[in-house]
Structures are given as structure tokens and as C-alpha cells.
């Protein structure tokens, strides 16, 4: 792990705060998430404090701090889905798989993200697993849907 991150970093100038976002994006591309160790490395390479990096990383929803699961669940909380009870869906799902948005289940089966609008508002509320859109979702349908993903 360390080597590939070193490789990645060596393409950017040292001590340059400006490269932070691209470096973070590439790091996430490489590992699927931003680990504590990665933040430490980036911090000493770019000389940006770990707190600042964490601040930036936690500001953008594209970054995650946990390794992705085998299946990625996205719950939409955009306006249409929200009105149609997206947050009920989220709550139920959280109870079902026992994690909060941004986390990954212990068995690595699922990770969970909340998003704002998946672009198919007519089908609200929407839940997306990997590349499949599950439309007109309801709390009772959750188990059925999850069964399809191992």
C-alpha cells in the first residue's frame, strides 16, 4: 500500500497545498477510501495539517473514510425523495444493516451513502445498489432488495 501511495505522491510537488484535492481524489481512486494512514502520509508530503485534510475530506461527499463494501447502497434524500419519505427509508435501512452513512458493514457486504438526487425524481423514493436503481421504494421492500446482493 505504502509504495503505490508514494508513487502517486511523487507526481505532485512537495509542500504544495494546492495539490490536496487531486491527491485525495487519486488516493480514493487507488484504495476506494481515504485511510488514516493515507492522511498522515499526504499531510507530511504536502505539509498540510491532518486536521485540515480531514476537514476538506469530510466536506466533500465524494470522499469516504471506510473501505467500500462489496455492494454500495445509495439512499437518495433529494427534494422529491425526501418528500416521499426518503429519510424513513434511510432510518429503516440503517436499522437493517446496522451502519450509518459513510460506514461499511463488518462483513464488508454493504456500504452506505446518502446522496442528493439521483436524477430520477419521478420514481421517488429511490435507492440505488451498485448500478441498479430501485424505484418507488418502501420500508417493507428493503429486505427483498438486499437479498439480491451478496
Amino acid at each position: 500500500m505504502a509504495d503505490s501511495l508514494n508513487n502517486l505522491l511523487s507526481k505532485y510537488p512537495q509542500n504544495d497545498e494546492g495539490s490536496l484535492i487531486p491527491v485525495l481524489q487519486q488516493t480514493q481512486g487507488l484504495y476506494g477510501y481515504i485511510s488514516k494512514e493515507a492522511i498522515e502520509k499526504i499531510s507530511s508530503y504536502l505539509r498540510v495539517s491532518r486536521s485540515t485534510i480531514f476537514g476538506v475530506t469530510s466536506f466533500y461527499s465524494q470522499f469516504r473514510f471506510n473501505p467500500p463494501g462489496r455492494n454500495s447502497i445509495k439512499i437518495c434524500l433529494g427534494t422529491a425523495c425526501h418528500v416521499q419519505g426518503g429519510d424513513f427509508l434511510l432510518n429503516a435501512l440503517q436499522l437493517e444493516i446496522g451502519i450509518e452513512p459513510g460506514q461499511t458493514t463488518e462483513d464488508k457486504r454493504f456500504d452506505l451513502t446518502r446522496v442528493a438526487c439521483l436524477g430520477c425524481c419521478a420514481l421517488a423514493p429511490v435507492m440505488m445498489v451498485n448500478n441498479d436503481i430501485h424505484s418507488r421504494m418502501s420500508v417493507i421492500k428493503i429486505r427483498e432488495v438486499l437479498k439480491k446482493y451478496e
Binding site: 507530511s44 486536521s51 485540515t52
Partner: protein
């Protein structure tokens, strides 16, 4: 040449604010102009002296002929600008913003219609004090939200309450965090990053989950907090609340004085109420430009001054118990006993944090009354002539001011951990780096300053001398200069690999370092304790002067010596040194001797004086038999053999166990005096409160003892008179003098050998965290928590050789003894190096005297079975 700051002509322009026309400098902001004219504009996120931010938008003003509203704190004035700061519309707008801010903040204390009458109805008939009413904030009365609510006449908050319901952080050292009160103004984040460059705080998360926090919301300590307290001082609300002085209410007095805990001598404001210090920090309502301090200046004074263990009466040891006695009886008792120990059997140990007045009197008393030259400051430098050399160098080339550190294009920092010893110097180094100056660092390990450097070289602990000689050699080579013989020998006779192995650096590194220095036009050299606290310090001094001379001359480059403690230079200058009278006049020079004998109208001792270290080693029948200790010092076992010992201190300590009598002592907030700071200027500290009980400053005590011994020449009424006496004999304004000839100074060489039996080099951090010899970690629990003293830090590599793991125990063995320590991994240490911050109890492991000879000791680490 670069010293001459070009004064750019600043153009004046005319503007009007609220109908008042005025001339202001071009480039300043509307807010600055308004403040100069005494016009109030509400602000929340604004901080003086930091880059403009413009986050809260409460400072919006109207500008004629310009669309919308502009933030006064970020908009520069321009010719003819007409500004209106208060209109009905503006007030509504600002009120709306404040309402939004308050929707996340408890506001019962702010907009309750009974808030003014509250305290009147709060009384209870119970016997204990109870808090009734709705104010649960430590900042009540000194809260900027309260000011804003008043100015904007906010009567209600119409938005639904979005209380965050966060758990307050109570286990943070020195201050508690309750982010429920945070208004996200960003001041703490900006001061921590932009002013202190500590990088601890950041805004984390997004949207309404946004908070001030650290990486992964770890503790501030783990995020590298330096506890400078800058964030506490700027916070407009009660979300960062100092533990000291919370709930006491607003101060009724604020006094400006000087911190004596290190020679930076920071200007500090002490808030007090009655005879109690509330805290050190900005006056109420002045939180946008607080004086910058460090953890010691900010959090220590109140904690030690009002410490529950403080003594306020003389204590006499009777059958191994302390009994309180009257002051006059104590003086009589001491005077009677000291009569018996005149001459070289008497020793006096003063403190380098004490004023020049006190230290002058201590040495005068010792020499004039006790007829002894055994007078010294605690933990004096191993190089006895070092301070004199520095003094002479400074006479010709005065030290650079702190704010001039950045004036060079290169800052060369060697052997320094200014972030803990002289934090405000470190602050300037970091700023220089951030502002694009070149910072080059050489040290025994990769430390925090190295994070603010463009080039870093590691030399092995104790090898600063080798490093400097090699550096000088390479500079000469790069400059094609003839090498001084001593250095040439070093280069020719030794094989390079061996030198590299011993020195812990590679020749290429030194060469690169040399080239970097040679390319610089002007270099400020900052020299820390790893150079000064060594028997080779005088050689290193010569090398540094040589280097400075080679690299473009002494006038051009300046060397700043980071002497430790508030007043080491000042104390030594006024004569508290076995070899020197005030002004570094030699005790053994006939002319000087006669001059001082004449001034003091007495016969003075001829016997050679001992340093503090030597005194302790020489306690015996025919050596030192009586000792006077001002403040505290390590409880050395030899003290048990003293016949008579007096201590004057703020507390009873382990050392007091050896004393016959202990007198109560004033702190620097209870008396007046002067120190000479790192820039060599005279700084005054003033009383903030009255001393407790019978506590007195050193000079007053010595004066009474002298009178008790029927000696004249001590009739001072105030510390002021002592200063006049000092000024009448030595020059405190430091007119310049010639420095030694142009020739390169010669260097002698001693050796610090590595040994096979003790393969590990333990780096010993000189302890700056004491006041008058009293260890701060022993007095203040939070200080203990952040200091991690008495823990053996090792490199990962070193720990691999042991079965003990991180956090477990190991045994450290030196030539002086052995002791078990908790072991912890520290990054930045290379190879066989370890690191420790010893407490007084650990010192016997590193020295048979009072303190280690150098900042490293050879040792062996083994597992505890």
C-alpha cells in the same frame, strides 16, 4: 543594507463614514478606517492582524453608488467613498443573520426579557450556593453575542431551535470545549493555523453537521495541540472555556506585565478580581487582537500563584516537623546561623527566572556579607565563559529583534526546540517559512521545527561540534577559502566514512547545507540549547562566529542565542556567577576586585567561586557546609550532608526536606522587577495582586538578613533603588563595543565518545517547564498530562531489539544508575537514539551533579524481566 526597511509613501485618501469626512491611508479596510475614527461596526469573525476573511457578514455596510452591501472587514477604502454604517435596513439584515446564528446556540441568556433582573431573583435561601436562572455560560458578561444582541436590539429568535446537543469535552487540558455554544465564526481555526501555524483545528464535516474539530475528531493533544491558548483568547463565545477562573465572573482589574518564564518576555495581560488572578488573557471585550503567549505564559501564572500548597509563613524544621514561626524570628534565626558559615563554606543558588534586582542582591549578599564567591544560577551552562562570550559578541552585534528574524533570506536553526523552549521565537521561524523565507535546520532528531524547514540535517546527539566543523569545512571548500588548521586536520586525518558514522550525517548533506548557506545573502542563525548546554559550547560558539564571518560577515549575518529561562543573561550580567561581578568584571582581576570592594565599602573574598553544580558536588566538611537556595532545585542526595540550609520558595518541595528553614516567596505577579529578554532589552514586570501572607521577594529577605547580621549597604526601600545602583555601575543600554579581531577564532576540541557498553544515545530535553526551580508538572496536573515527562521515547528500530512493546516498561541503564521507564515510540528519532524529558527525580540517572553536562547521555536499554 537589507536592514533598512524601505518606507513606501502611503497615499492618503479622503472618505466619509456616516457623514463624517476623514483622511485615511489607502489600502486599509472600511472597518479599520471606522475603528480609527471611533465608529462602531458590529463584527463577529473579524480578527485584527490576520488575513481578511469575511465569513459572518455582520459587518455589512452601505456604500453610496454601489450595489448591495459590502463587508466592511474585507472591503478596502477608495478615494471619495461614502460609507453608511447604520441604517434601518442594515440593522434588519444584520439582525436576521444574528437570528440564524442564534438558532443553533442557546440564547436564553441573550434575549430573555428578564435578563437584567435575573440576578436579583436568583438568590436562594439554601446554605450552599446554587445556580438558578438560565445562564450556564462561563463567559457571561464577556460575550460578544451579548454585545451584538444589544447593538442590534434583537428581541426574539423566530427560527426553530436547532440545538446540537453535543457532549462537552471536559477532559481537555487547561480548557473545556462546549461546541453547543460555537457560532462557527472560524476565529479559533484561523488563529491556530494562520497565526500559530499549529494546524490543530479545522472546520470538519459539512452542512449543518459542520463543527470545529480535529482529524478524525481525535483529541486536541493527539492532533498536536501546543496549548498556546490562542484559540481560547479569540473565541467570542463560551465554547472554549478556560478551566482557571471560570464562573468567577468578569475581572475588576487588568494589568499588563511581562512573562518571566522564558527570555522572550512576552507582554501579557493579567485579569484579576480582588486579590485573585482570574486568568492571563485579553481584557473583556478585546478578543480580536490578543497578545500571543505560549502554554506557560497563558496557563501557568494563575495556577501556581493560587496553588493550594502555596506557603505564606516561614516554616522552621523542629524534630522533623514544620512549625510556623514569625517573620522576625525567622530572620534572626537565619542571621545567627549564617554568621557561622562565612567564607567559602557558604553557597548561594539563585534562579534564572528571578529579576536582575533580586539576583544582584543575592550575589552582593554572598560576596559582601558571606565573603564567598560561591554564587550561581540554577542549571548554569557547562561552558563557564559562554555568557561572557555572548555578551561581548552582542556588544558589537546586538541580537536581532524577534520581528527581524524574517529580515534575512535564510534562517539557520541549530540545536533548538524553540517550540517548547521559546515558543514565540518558533512562531517567527514558522512565519518566515510560510512567507517564503528559506529555513534550514540541523538537530539531533527530526522535530517539529523541521516541518517548517526547506532543508534538514540530522546529526547524532552530542555531535553538534563535528557537524559545525564539517559545515565550516564545506563552506570554506565551496568558497575556495583556506581552511583553519584545526579544521583541515579534521578533514585530512580522518576517513570520511568514519566521520559520517560518528556524526550521523552524510557528507553530501553537509555539502548541500553549505551550498545553501553560501547562496544566501543574509542569514539569521538561531542557536538553541543543544549547542549551549554542552561542554563544547564555547567551541561551537567560535565555529558559529567563524561560519557567520565566512558567509558574508558578522555585520550582515546575526546569531541569536536562545538562552534558557526568563533572565539567565540578565542574572549573569548583574553578577550572579562565581567568576564575575556585575558587567562580567572578573572576580580575579585586581582592578575589578578593588573597584567592587570600593563600591561596596568592604573586603571581598579572593577564593575562587564554585558553580552550582560544583557546590553540590562539594558538599562536605571541608567544602560547602551551608547553602541558601532561592526557589527550588532538584533534591540532590548530597544536600543531606549540609549543616545548614535555607530555602525561600513558594512551596515546600522534596528539596525542602533538607532545609532547616523555608521562607515564603513572592511570584513575579506579586512584586516588581526587571528581566533582560532575548533581544537584550530591559523589561519590567509589575505586581498584579498582593503577595499572600508574609511572602516576600528575595531582595527584601536578603536585606533583612544582612541587617540582622549588622551589615550596611542594604538599605533599599524599593526594588527600584537596586536598579539605580545597578545602573550606576553597569551599562544597561548596551552601547556597542568592538568585537575580537577579524581573524577566525580558534577552536579547541574535546570529545564525547560513544561506548559499546552503552550503545544508545538518550537525548535529554532541558526542562524549561519550571518556575523558580519548581517543576510545573508536579504542581499542575494538566501540565503533567501534556508534558509526558519521565517517559522514554525510542525509535521504532530500537524497540524492535526489545521484547517490550509500545507503552510497556523498560530499564534504562547509564553510568550513574538505572531506572525503569515507560517506553513509547516517537517518530523522528534515528537509529540508536532515545529521548526523554526528565523530572527532577530522574536527574541522578544522567549526572552526579545538579544537571546533565550535555543534552545526551550514553545508555543501555533492556527489558524488565
Amino acid at each position: 543594507m537589507t536592514e533598512v526597511i524601505e518606507k513606501k509613501k502611503i497615499k492618503k485618501i479622503s472618505i466619509t463614514i456616516d457623514g463624517k469626512s476623514m483622511m485615511v491611508s489607502e489600502g486599509i479596510t472600511i472597518l479599520e478606517a471606522a475603528r480609527k475614527a471611533g465608529i462602531y461596526i458590529p463584527t463577529l469573525c473579524y480578527l485584527d492582524n490576520l488575513p481578511h476573511y469575511g465569513g459572518c457578514r455582520l459587518c455589512m455596510v452601505e456604500i453610496k453608488n454601489s450595489k448591495g452591501y459590502q463587508t466592511a472587514c474585507t472591503t478596502p477604502v477608495c478615494q471619495g467613498m461614502e460609507i453608511i454604517t447604520k441604517t434601518a435596513d442594515l440593522q434588519i439584515l444584520r439582525r436576521d443573520i444574528l437570528e440564524l446564528i442564534l438558532s443553533e446556540h442557546t440564547f436564553t441568556c441573550l434575549i430573555c426579557k428578564d435578563k437584567n433582573d435575573c440576578s436579583e431573583y436568583m438568590h436562594s435561601t439554601r446554605k450552599v450556593g446554587v445556580t438558578t436562572g438560565c445562564n450556564f455560560c462561563t463567559r457571561n458578561g464577556d460575550c460578544e453575542l451579548q454585545d451584538l444582541v444589544e447593538y442590534l436590539e434583537l428581541k426574539d429568535v423566530r427560527f426553530p431551535i436547532a440545538y446540537r446537543g453535543l457532549e462537552p469535552v471536559k477532559d481537555n487540558p487547561f480548557y473545556e470545549l462546549d461546541y453547543n455554544l460555537c457560532v462557527l465564526c472560524g476565529r479559533c481555526v484561523r488563529i491556530c493555523n494562520e497565526e500559530r501555524n499549529s494546524g490543530v483545528l479545522a472546520f470538519v464535516q459539512r452542512g449543518n453537521a459542520t463543527l470545529v474539530g480535529t482529524a478524525f475528531l481525535e483529541s486536541q493533544k493527539d492532533a498536536g495541540c501546543e496549548y498556546c491558548g490562542a484559540c481560547v483568547d479569540v473565541c467570542p463565545t463560551g465554547s472554549i472555556a478556560e478551566k482557571m477562573g471560570s464562573w468567577v465572573g468578569c475581572p475588576d482589574n487588568s494589568t499588563i506585565t511581562t512573562c518571566v518564564l522564558c527570555p522572550v518576555g512576552c507582554k501579557m495581560n493579567v485579569n484579576s478580581k480582588g486579590n485573585r488572578i482570574i486568568n492571563v488573557g485579553p481584557e473583556p471585550g478585546k478578543r480580536t487582537a490578543p497578545l500571543q503567549l505560549c502554554v506557560r505564559g497563558k496557563f501557568v501564572p494563575g495556577d501556581i500563584v493560587h496553588h493550594p500548597d502555596r506557603i505564606n509563613k516561614p516554616l522552621l524544621k523542629k524534630e522533623n516537623r514544620w512549625v510556623e514561626i514569625a517573620w522576625d524570628d525567622a530572620i534572626r534565626y537565619i542571621a545567627r546561623n549564617l554568621e557561622k558559615y562565612k567564607g567559602s563554606q557558604f553557597g548561594m543558588i539563585g534562579s534564572a527566572q528571578d529579576s536582575i534586582e533580586n539576583n544582584y542582591i543575592l550575589q552582593k549578599f554572598t560576596r559582601k556579607v558571606m565573603k564567598s564567591n560561591n554564587v550561581d544560577l540554577l542549571f548554569s551552562y557547562p561552558g563557564k565563559n559562554l555568557l561572557k562570550k555572548i555578551h561581548e559578541y552582542y556588544n558589537a552585534f546586538p541580537p536581532i529583534g524577534l520581528n527581524k528574524i524574517e529580515s534575512a533570506d535564510t534562517i539557520f536553526v541549530i540545536g533548538s526546540q524553540a517550540y517548547s523552549s521559546h515558543p514565540i521565537v518558533e512562531n517567527r521561524i514558522r512565519k518566515a517559512y510560510k512567507n517564503g523565507k528559506q529555513v534550514v535546520v540541523a538537530h539531533t532528531h527530526n522535530n517539529r521545527t523541521a516541518d517548517f524547514s526547506n532543508l534538514f540535517v540530522n546529526f547524532n546527539p552530542g555531535k553538534e561540534y563535528s557537524f559545525l566543523s564539517m559545515l565550516m569545512a564545506y563552506i570554506s571548500v565551496v568558497l575556495k577559502k583556506r581552511l583553519p588548521d584545526s579544521v583541515r586536520e579534521l578533514l585530512e586525518n580522518s576517513n570520511q566514512r568514519k566521520l559520517e558514522r560518528i556524526g550521523g550525517f552524510r557528507m553530501e548533506e553537509i555539502e548541500q547545507f553549505a551550498r545553501t548557506l553560501v547562496k544566501s545573502r543574509k542569514i539569521n542563525i538561531i542557536v538553541g540549547e543543544w549547542i549551549l548546554r554542552s561542554p563544547e559550547s564555547e567551541n561551537s560558539f567560535n565555529l558559529l562566529i567563524n561560519i557567520s564571518r565566512l558567509l558574508g560577515g558578522l555585520e550582515n549575518n546575526r546569531v541569536l542565542f536562545l538562552l534558557d529561562e526568563g533572565n539567565r543573561y540578565g542574572g549573569t550580567l548583574v553578577g550572579i556567577h562565581p567568576d564575575y561581578f556585575a558587567g562580567f568584571a572578573r572576580v580575579h582581576n585586581r582592578v575589578d576586585h578593588n573597584k567592587w570592594a570600593g563600591l561596596w565599602n568592604t573586603k571581598l573574598p579572593h577564593q575562587k567561586g564554585l558553580s552550582a553544580n560544583e557546590m553540590i558536588k562539594n558538599i562536605s566538611n571541608d567544602g560547602i557546609r551551608a547553602l541558601f537556595v532561592m526557589g527550588d532545585m532538584p533534591p540532590h542526595k548530597n544536600l543531606a550532608d549540609l549543616e545548614f540550609m535555607v530555602q525561600q520558595n513558594m512551596f515546600l518541595s522534596q528539596t525542602s526536606d533538607y532545609a532547616n528553614i523555608v521562607l515564603p516567596l513572592c511570584s513575579f505577579t506579586e512584586t516588581e522587577g526587571h528581566i533582560i529578554d532575548v533581544e537584550r532589552s530591559l523589561k519590567k514586570f509589575t505586581p498584579v495582586i498582593k503577595p499572600p501572607g508574609l511572602a516576600r521577594p528575595a531582595w527584601a529577605t536578603m536585606q533583612e538578613i544582612a541587617e540582622g547580621m549588622r551589615q550596611d549597604g542594604f538599605g533599599y526601600k524599593r526594588a527600584n533603588m537596586i536598579l539605580s545602583e545597578i545602573k550606576s555601575v553597569i551599562d544597561l543600554s548596551f552601547s556597542t563595543a568592538e568585537f575580537e579581531s577579524k581573524r577566525l577564532m580558534s577552536v579547541n576540541r574535546t570529545e564525547h565518545r560513544k561506548s559499546n557498553k552503552f550503545p544508545v544515545q538518550v537525548i535529554i530535553e532541558p526542562n524549561h517547564f519550571h518556575y523558580m526551580g519548581n517543576l510545573l508538572s508536579a504542581l499542575i496536573p494538566d501540565m503533567k498530562a501534556i508534558r509526558e515527562e519521565s517517559v522514554l521515547f525510542v525509535s521504532e528500530k530500537l524497540l524492535r531489539d526489545l521484547t517490550a512493546r509500545d507503552g510497556e516498561k523498560v530499564r534504562l541503564i547509564t553510568t550513574f544508575g538505572k531506572k525503569v521507564f515507560k517506553v513509547k515510540i516517537m517518530s523522528g528519532l534515528n537509529g540508536k537514539a532515545a529521548y526523554i524529558k526528565p523530572t527532577w527525580d530522574d536527574l541522578p540517572l544522567f549526572s552526579d551533579g545538579l544537571s546533565p553536562e550535555r543534552c545526551v547521555v550514553n545508555a543501555k536499554i533492556e527489558d524488565v524481566d
